[in-house]
Structure formats: structure tokens, C-alpha cells
Subunit: 412 residues, 2 copies
């Protein structure tokens, strides 16, 4: 059955998958501000009031009627009558009359009839009852008007926005202490393979520890999902089908971390085909490492059969799964940039045209430039990833990269 | 008292601070792997065994003695005797004798006396008892040797390393399911200012909501610390001193988010000077926004008096505080790169030489290049940060940036 499938390029695979993928309706929950960081807004946030709520001074100085200072200069100062002081956190009720000046701190409320603030630096008290002003101010100068930052009713943050540090501040400034966010998608992880054992157990000869359960767990967390490890399943149709049925009922997406043997993959495909339309959509992607990848939709939920090799599974997660987990939590924004750097490749790296290669690299800094060292390991085991600081993509049309070439490293 | 201090450049301020800063001895804790992501290793991790633990095949094929295939080709195949099959997860006990071939799956254990694997693609079964081999293999070919990835005793990850997804996999592959990590530093946040009220409360005219308590909370979390908000303190020596004394006893670092008025800053300085040597080290940094910054060490703990303006407080956090929180959790690695992009500035932005300016910017993509739009707001309130996607630094020696200039935006 698996032979019926052609190997797709990554972009073809994405197209085939999203043609069949229907966004589920997402559930919402209310969280307190402190727990909202990194979560995705489930509704627009409107300002319930003007910010600032009242006209405020943006300087330490004197609240005045601007026209009383017109023409004032070092050589021809204006003289005003000091008429008290506004304290921080106090309502300014006493108006500023013509020719008066009331002392006001930064952030203080502008008194009635004042329309500007003269900075303290441009004033001198002459005795107790005269203020010399050596600079004129225009109406509105050194004043933040009510609603200048945000007007009442304005949409401050939109549905689908991922909440950042400053957004917590925006909520707080509006007196909002809870946020309606989308629930985190719950992602089931099933490990398959007769040779796999859980890492805390004693390993017999011929067995290997289940690594993917942990790397995928961490990747799901980093993508904003909630990982649930459902344990290790033998290469057996009935056992995998039972576990898949449970996973599809309970969770929003399923990652089957496959044994790398052909047998396991066949069982996975058979189980996915038995769970309803459309079933398997992609079986094989022209990516290295990561070719034996299965993309499916069962009961309207995305299911990925990931390669057994840990590095390949991580690569495919980065390439396809992370994006889906973002959609499943309602994220509307695409990241603008990635953590990356440019450097010089220190050796030739062959690759096959028609295949997208992802190269693990270590980085050293020499004479102000970065040297990018490919990490080659025939096993493709997890330690090549541990030694790496980032990944270089070899485009699908290239037959490799050359020593000395400038490459972009996507940093971990 | 505050007038005795000169305004330092950011690098001078850093030097003055670190000359007095002594690293405290960090506490360790044991966490399970699933909770170790992003934490910092408190000790070197050594491989307790070889990885892989036994010689394994890296291909589906036949385990052979390499010399039995020497010279084999399409035109002159070698003929071997099929002698059974190795199953995944099973110990291979039966040796391969001369002229024999045992079927082996990828990841299967190499049987005794075999030293190579012929890929299945280069073999044909002729009846039940003859295997035609059309390609010769050298010793070690398609085999991953025991210890090839990691030798027993080798340091796999070092003390001070921040644990990534792949590192969880490395732990799992070694059978390690717990990690010794440094405790997260606990960072006290004290808000000061007579005008401040907690965001959930009704705001009276003349009052403003405490924004910094939330933005700093989020920034501390992002930096890997554990934030503790100790509430709002009035501009009062005794009250602030009481709170500070409590904070210095309980927590690893204190952030005082100051009212922006001169009065509050003076109280903060007085309290810090009363709590023991060396006290205030820096009072004023040539950064905009963020000039009224206090850096101090009290009872061997770092204390920052941050500006009251939320954007200024966030900027100073980024510039100085994040780095200290990293040190307080034992991080040994410096980040190699930042999430950034280059784009074209869409207008002139003035700045004062002798001051480092941090400009909030929005970004649009046009014709394949990024347009970088400065967000100007006289109030410096939090909504300028909310509208921004990143920050552009105007270097200390520049008198501004020019329209059309290529700038690097540090993305949020």
C-alpha cells in the first residue's frame, strides 16, 4: 500500500496536507495576566476607557495657560504668579487662572484651564510670589492629552495575537487583569517499535531507549502545545490501532514516532488507512534527514508518522509540525524573523538535487566572522544535534554546498 | 545625595556594577527530564555507557564478513548462504560464519563475527539457500560501532549549559531521566509611587495603574527567573526600607520599579544607602528611554531602581537586568544571535550624541525588503511598545539615524 505513494517535495507535501486540513473550532479559557505570556488571544481587546484617563504633564514644571508665555525669552522673560502645587496621585481641581502657574510633577494631572507645561529648567522663582519664565510654550506642549495613547473603544490587541511582555502592560494599563485565550492544543505522542524501551528501564542487548518521546515532548512545549506521552506500542496493528483510537478521541493531534524499520511504517500506514477518510496523504518527503514521513488526517485531526531517527523526527517537527501546533492554538501572526547568523562554511558538503537537506553545524567565531562547521555522523543519532548550535538548509535544487560559501545558520 | 553621581554610559555602568558584584553560590535541585527544558545544568553530564551500546546496522540488509564480498559486482556477484534473521530488539547470539549472511534490519544488533552490512538493494535471494551479492563492502560499512556516538565517561553536556530539546534526547539515550539544575533565581518586584494603584482596582482621577509590575513579571519569566510581586509601596523611606529589608532576606535580586518623579528616586537612593555597602553604584545612565536608572548592591544582592515609565523600565531590563538573571541561574553560554532583521528606515530620527537611544519600530514588507517605521510617542507609554515589533539601537556616537538608512531591528 505504501508503494502507491510518491515522494513529495516539502512544499508539495504542505499543499497536499492543507488541502484536506479543516481548522477545528478552538476552545477558549480565561487566564490571569501572569499566566497569559505566550498564549494566543481568543478575542479582540478593546480599550474600556481613554488612556491616559486625564490630561497629564510629561515633565516636571509649571502648568500654565500657554498664551501667558507667548514671546517669553531669556532677554524678555514672562512673569507669572505661583499658585500652589499639584501632587502626584491627586485630582487637580483648582483651575489655573490667567497669569498663574501651578507646580506640576511628571505624570501629574493637568489642572482645569491649563493647556501647557513649562519645564522647570526654564523657570526661576523670584521670591515667593513671582515666577520668571524664559521660554514660551505652545498649547499642548509637555502635555499628554486624555486618550492620546489609546481612545476608548479602540482595538488594542487582536484575536490571534500572541501575548508578549509589553502586552501584559497594556492589559494592566487598561485595568484588565484576565485574558481570554485559546486553549493549548493537546498533542499525543505515541512511540512505536519492538526495540524501544523507556529510558528509566534497564536496556537489554538489542534494545534502544525511547529518545523521541522526550525530544518531541520538548518541541511540543516550545511550540505552545501540551504534550502527552501515551507510551510505547509494539509493531502490531491491533495495539497501535487501539492506542490511536484513544488518542484521536482525547487529543487534538497525534505524533507517532515510528520505528525506522519498514515494518513499523507499514503498520502505521495500515492503521491510519483503517481509521477513516482521508487517511494517509503523504508518505515520503524529499527531505534529509526525514524522508520516511507520513502525514495523515484521521477523524479531522492531523496525524504525523515521524521517522524513528531522533534527528530526522526533530527536523520534520520543525518543518511541518510546529506550524500546525501554532494553527491549533489560533496563532494568526507569522514570525518575522528567526534567530540566525551568517557564516562561512568550512568544508564541502554534498547533497542530492531534488532533496532538501538539513545540516547540523557547530559555530566558532574567528577574526570577527563566524566559521560554520558541518557535523557529520553516519548514524544520525541525537548526539550530532547535541554538538550542534544550529541548522543549515541545503536548498532542493543544489547539489551541495561549497567550502567558503556564506550560509545562513538557523540557531537553536 | 543623588547629585553626587555622574551619568554613566551603558558600558561604564556595566563595568562599575560588575566590579562590585560577587557571584553567590547557587543552589541545585533535581528535576525530571520533562521539566528540565530551558533550565541550566548544575554539573557535567557524563555518559554512563557506550552509545550505541552494541554494534548496530545502519541499513536494512545482510550482516556479513566483509572479506566474503570483496570483488563482488553486477558482473561477478558473490554468493553467500542465508543463515537466518536478526529481529529488532533481540540479542544477536548466533555468529556469522564464513560465506554466511544473516538478514538484519536498520538498528538491529550486529551478530558476532560480522563486520559489515550489505544493503538489501544489492542482494537477491536465489531460491531459499543462496544470496547473490552484487556490491562489495568494506569492514565497518553500514555499521555503527559501539561507542561511536558517545564513549563511556565522555562529558556530553557541561555545567552551565541551558537544556534544549535535543539535550532531553541525549539524556534519554543515556538512560538518565533526571537532571541536576540550578534553582531559578527569585526576583522581587516592588512598585513605588504615590500615584500607583493595582490594575484590578478602581482608578481615581490623578492615579495611574501599576503597569511595570506586569511587564517586569513577564520579562523575569522570559529570562528564566521566578518573579515575586511584593506590592505597591508609597514614596516613603520607612515603608520602602521595610519592604526592601524583607526582599533582601527572601529573594536573590530586587527590582524597584520607581515612580518617575524625582522624589521617589531620592527615597530609593536613601533607602539603598541605608542598607549597607556598597549601596548605590550607578545613578543615571546615558540611555533613552531609561536615564533615571539606579544600580546598586545591598547585602551582596543586585538591586535595580528602574524608571517609572514602562517603556524605559523594559528597555533597562533588556540592557542590564536580563544578563544578571542569566548569571544568577548559572548560565555559562552567551547567546550567539538574536531574532533580528535588516530593513530600511522610513524617516529621520534625531538623537543626542553621548546617549544610546532605543527606538520602537513597526515593520512592513514591501517588494521583498523590510520597511522600518519609527513609532514616536511623546508619552513613552506602553502602547508604543505594543504597536512595535522590535527595537532599533541608535549608537551612542550618532546624532540620529537617516531616512533610507539600513538598520538592524532586534525583534521581540
Amino acid at each position: 500500500m505504501s508503494d502507491l505513494f510518491k515522494v513529495y517535495t516539502p512544499s508539495e507535501a504542505r499543499t497536499v496536507f492543507y488541502q484536506q486540513f479543516c481548522m477545528p473550532s478552538l476552545k477558549k479559557e480565561i487566564v490571569c495576566l501572569q499566566q497569559s505570556l505566550g498564549r494566543v488571544l481568543a478575542q479582540d481587546v478593546q480599550a474600556p476607557e481613554n488612556i491616559p484617563a486625564f490630561d497629564r504633564s510629561s515633565m516636571d514644571g509649571y502648568a500654565v495657560r500657554a498664551q501667558d508665555t507667548f514671546g517669553a525669552s531669556e532677554s524678555l522673560p514672562a512673569y507669572l504668579i505661583p499658585a500652589g502645587e499639584i501632587l502626584m496621585g491627586e485630582e487637580a481641581q483648582k483651575p489655573v487662572h490667567a497669569q498663574q502657574a501651578i507646580y506640576i510633577p511628571t505624570g501629574g494631572m493637568l489642572p482645569p484651564d491649563a493647556d501647557a507645561v513649562v519645564m522647570k529648567e526654564y523657570t526661576t522663582l523670584v521670591g515667593d510670589d513671582l515666577l520668571e519664565v524664559v521660554k514660551s510654550v505652545g498649547p499642548g506642549e509637555n502635555v499628554v492629552k486624555a486618550g492620546d495613547d489609546v481612545g476608548k473603544g479602540q482595538v488594542v490587541l487582536s484575536e490571534g495575537h500572541t501575548i508578549r511582555s509589553q502586552d501584559l502592560g497594556a492589559f494592566a494599563s487598561l485595568g484588565i487583569v484576565e485574558a481570554a485565550v485559546y486553549e493549548r492544543p493537546r498533542i499525543a505522542i505515541i512511540s512505536t517499535g519492538d526495540e524501544l524501551v523507556s529510558p528509566e528501564k534497564q536496556v537489554k542487548v538489542g534494545q534502544v531507549r525511547d529518545i523521541n518521546a522526550y525530544t518531541l515532548y520538548a518541541q511540543v512545549m516550545e511550540a505552545g502545545g501540551m504534550p502527552v506521552h501515551m507510551g510505547i506500542v509494539r509493531d502490531n496493528f491491533a495495539e497501535l490501532k487501539g492506542k490511536m483510537t484513544e488518542a484521536l478521541q482525547e487529543y487534538d493531534m497525534v505524533l507517532i514516532s515510528g520505528g525506522s524499520s519498514v515494518g513499523t511504517r507499514d503498520v502505521t500506514v495500515e492503521v491510519l488507512e483503517s481509521l477513516g477518510e482521508p487517511g494517509v496523504l503523504v508518505h515520503g518527503v524529499s527531505v534529509s534527514p526525514g524522508k520516511p514521513t507520513i502525514m495523515a488526517i484521521s477523524q479531522n485531526k492531523p496525524v504525523f508518522g515521524l521517522p524513528g531517527h531522533p534527528v530526522a523526527a526533530m527536523t520534520i517537527f520543525d518543518l511541518f509540525v510546529e506550524e500546525i501546533i501554532c494553527k491549533l492554538q489560533g496563532k494568526q501572526e507569522k514570525g518575522l524573523g528567526r534567530k540566525s547568523l551568517k557564516g562561512e562554511l568550512t568544508r564541502n558538503v554534498p547533497s542530492s538535487p531534488g532533496r532538501e537537506d538539513y545540516l547540523r553545524v557547530a559555530i566558532t567565531a574567528e577574526n570577527g566572522t563566524f566559521q560554520v562547521h558541518p557535523i557529520l555522523g553516519k548514524s544520525g543519532l541525537i548526539f550530532t544535534m547535541v554538538k550542534a548550535q544550529g541548522i543549515v538548509k541545503i536548498p532542493i535544487e543544489r547539489a551541495g554546498l561549497e567550502k567558503g560559501e556564506q550560509v545562513t545558520v538557523r540557531l537553536f
